[in-house]
């Protein structure tokens, strides 16, 4: 075996240019694959972190309250009692937070925009401070009523800074116009498309805007100790809450604001609860991850085909060049199987070295980019859900890339290696070329 390894190694060295070109191509493809997987993993990771802080818990108990059949509001009444019920039913629970939900026009002296308004109790939000990076002002300002947190993109569009006043304008649940003057207390770094339309005000202020009672909220966010329990908890709540006297909406795995059409068309009035998970609430951005995964898969396939053609072609050339050598080896007693193994070893040695090199280089590049906090173009930021490139290198992904490309290279090497092994020694030795 050592001899075969030696022959393969020397043969690769003997054809340095060819080896370098093919090895470089394989390393390049591996690097591209690792980087693409880094982008996808980074997006998923950022999405999970941002979504489960800004827009959703792991599991959410939200719902709609309808004063009349045509007027639905994303409101949960008597939420403290509901939280007690949830604590009783979910031993997997880590912590709970409540978040008001609103949609209002935010008006400055120079412009306006429609925004989602989250009502938060900043002191009770455990993960919020970790995810939201404040650029100007302080999150503590949200302890005071009549204040607002904006993201940089919104502040730029409205041409406001910390301390400036804005007006929130929205109809109450009964359709009566109302406004609320709010002071900007913090401007945070953009979090992709999630920061395009999200703003945060104290819960009390949101209730004032919508003229809601103190025991109302928009949704209860449940954070579990282990996210693997999400489905189990959802199933259990679907069973237990109706038993406790609550009316549930049919399961609809979409963000709450996408359900207004359906809810408004239905004729019921009063309260209905809706149980969703974090993936449902950000289903509208999931397409980005799915599209990127598809592009990664398609690109990997195309690159693999290119490599396969390259490897096969190179081995064909090698076999043609070494036909007489193969004949001689066969004549002095080398078995067919060993000839096959000899060529496969050569392919393995080349592809494994190249993939490992490519993976290491790509991983190093990803880590370098992350450490330098390289700012992504604004269009890309929307999809990345962060303003900096974040390429998450996972050992599993790197090993997958190395194994996939090495195995693919080995598989395409099988045909020329098998043909080389099948040669008759006499024919091979007479070969002129």
């Amino acid at each position: 075996m050592l001899q075969i390894l030696l022959i393969a190694y020397r043969n690769l060295l003997a054809h340095r240019r060819r080896t370098a070109l093919l090895g470089g191509a394989i390393a390049g493809v591996t690097a591209v694959l690792v980087i693409l997987m880094g982008v996808t993993n980074g997006m998923k990771s950022t999405m999970l972190e941002s979504a489960t802080t800004l827009m959703s818990g792991h599991v959410n108990v939200g719902g709609f309250f309808k004063v009349t059949a045509g007027q639905a509001a994303p409101v949960v009444t008597q939420y403290q009692k509901l939280i007690q019920e949830l604590r009783k039913e979910i031993p997997e629970l880590d912590y709970v937070s409540q978040r008001g939900r609103g949609w209002a026009k935010l008006v400055s002296d120079t412009g306006s925009m429609q925004v989602g308004v989250g009502g938060i109790d900043i002191e009770a939000e455990q993960g919020f401070r970790k995810v939201v990076q404040v650029r100007k002002g302080s999150l503590d300002g949200l302890n005071e009523p009549g204040t607002i947190l904006l993201f940089e993109e919104q502040a730029k569009k409205l041409e406001v800074g910390v301390g400036d006043m804005l007006t929130l304008s929205a109809p109450t649940m009964r359709g009566t116009s109302n406004t609320l003057d709010v002071r900007v207390v913090a401007i945070a770094a953009n979090i992709g498309m999630m920061s395009s339309w999200n703003t945060f005000v104290p819960s009390k202020s949101l209730r004032d805007l919508y003229q809601l009672k103190d025991d109302t909220t928009g949704a209860i966010y449940l954070y579990l100790k282990d996210m693997k329990d999400i489905r189990t908890v959802q199933e259990r709540l679907r069973k237990k809450l109706p038993e406790a006297g609550y009316t549930l909406m049919d399961n609809d795995p979409r963000a709450f604001w996408m359900k207004f059409d359906v809810v408004n068309r239905e004729g019921w009035t009063g309260q209905k609860l809706d149980i969703t998970n974090w993936e449902d609430e950000i289903s509208f951005v999931n397409w980005v991850v799915q599209a990127l995964s598809f592009i990664t898969g398609w690109l990997t396939f195309v690159l693999l085909v290119v490599i396969a053609a390259g490897i096969m072609n190179t081995l064909w050339i090698a076999i043609r060049e070494r036909t007489r050598e193969i004949g001689t080896l066969r004549a002095i007693g080398m078995q067919r199987a060993r000839v096959l193994v000899m060529f496969l070893t050569e392919a393995l040695m080349l592809s494994f070295t190249a993939t490992v090199t490519g993976a290491v280089a790509a991983s190093a590049l990803c880590l370098f980019i992350n450490s330098r906090q390289v700012k992504a173009p604004e269009v890309v930021q929307v999809m990345l859900l962060t303003e900096h490139w974040f390429l998450k290198v996972e050992s599993g992904s790197v090993i997958f890339a190395v194994v996939l490309i090495t195995v693919a290279s080995m598989l395409v090497s099988l045909i020329p290696s098998f043909l080389a092994a099948r040669m008759k020694p006499v024919t091979a030795m007479h070969h002129i070329g």
Partner: protein, 259 residues
């Protein structure tokens, strides 16, 4: 008592009596609102051609043409947009206290709040509908004043407790001579001024169903007071008070016109 004292006493008495002389009794104010409503009320059917000119900051002006159909006896209202091309076929239909909007591009009906903006402009459903000020608001008198060349009653209206209205407080400037509304300001719950409306032109038309004249504003200028640069002008043309088809206020009818 000296003549000077007599004069002072007379002046003081006149000043004390003056507010009572200029103030209106609750019944009088109610009467004004009823007259305002009644002058615009037809009782039968109503059809008009309406142009909505929308101005928004940093956006091109948009002019929409629409047909407004009303059957006040049944509280029915329909607005069918006919121009521009992109808006043609869209419409609103009020049935049994529900306002529905239809978009032929998606072929779906959506239930909307009655107090919603119409087609994203500064106008509301109430701007096209029968006037119901006396039913929905309680008035207080704020005095008599001059509005340009007109002498007007200024009234402050507060929404009644059990009636849902878009604006809980309204200030009205009503022409003393004609009892036409000349100016209207609408306030949010917070007390913030939301819209100012001007009614520079009124026109009358004889209604056979009512047996007398029906007044309608030919032009309504609406200024958004929150986003100061936004405004909408409503021009009401070709008012027709003849009876409409019986089955006109149905989803099917509006859909058929949208095709």
């Amino acid at each position: 008592m000296t003549p000077r004292n007599l004069l002072s006493a007379a002046a003081a008495a006149a000043l004390l009596v003056a507010p009572a002389a200029f103030a209106l009794e609750a019944a009088d104010m109610k009467k004004i609102l009823e007259v305002v409503d009644d002058r615009q009320r037809n009782g039968g059917d109503y059809k008009s051609l309406v142009y909505l000119e929308q101005k928004e900051k940093d956006k091109a002006d948009v002019v929409r043409e629409a047909l407004v159909y009303r059957r006040d006896a049944d509280d029915k209202l329909m607005i069918l947009f006919t121009k521009p091309k992109g808006e043609a076929g869209k419409g609103y239909l009020r049935l049994d206290k529900n306002l529905w909007s239809y978009d032929p591009n998606v072929g779906k009906w959506e239930r909307r709040t009655e107090r919603e903006r119409i087609a994203g402009t500064d106008s509301r459903r109430a701007d096209f509908d029968e006037s119901r000020l006396a039913e929905e608001y309680d008035p207080t008198y704020e005095g008599e004043e001059a509005l340009g060349k007109f002498q007007v009653h200024k009234l402050s209206l507060k929404g009644r407790a059990n009636i849902d209205v878009a604006y809980p407080v309204i200030k009205l400037w009503v022409d003393k001579e004609t009892t036409n509304i000349l100016k209207r300001q609408e306030f949010a719950l917070s007390g913030r001024l939301m819209r100012t409306l001007y009614y520079p032109k009124w026109q009358k038309l004889f209604s056979e169903s009512k047996g007398s004249d029906v007044w309608y504003p030919q032009e309504i200028r609406i200024y958004d007071e929150v986003e100061k640069s936004n405004s909408t002008v409503i021009l009401i043309k070709s008012v027709d008070l003849r009876s409409l088809e019986a089955n006109i206020f149905t989803k099917a009818w509006l859909e058929s016109k949208s095709r």
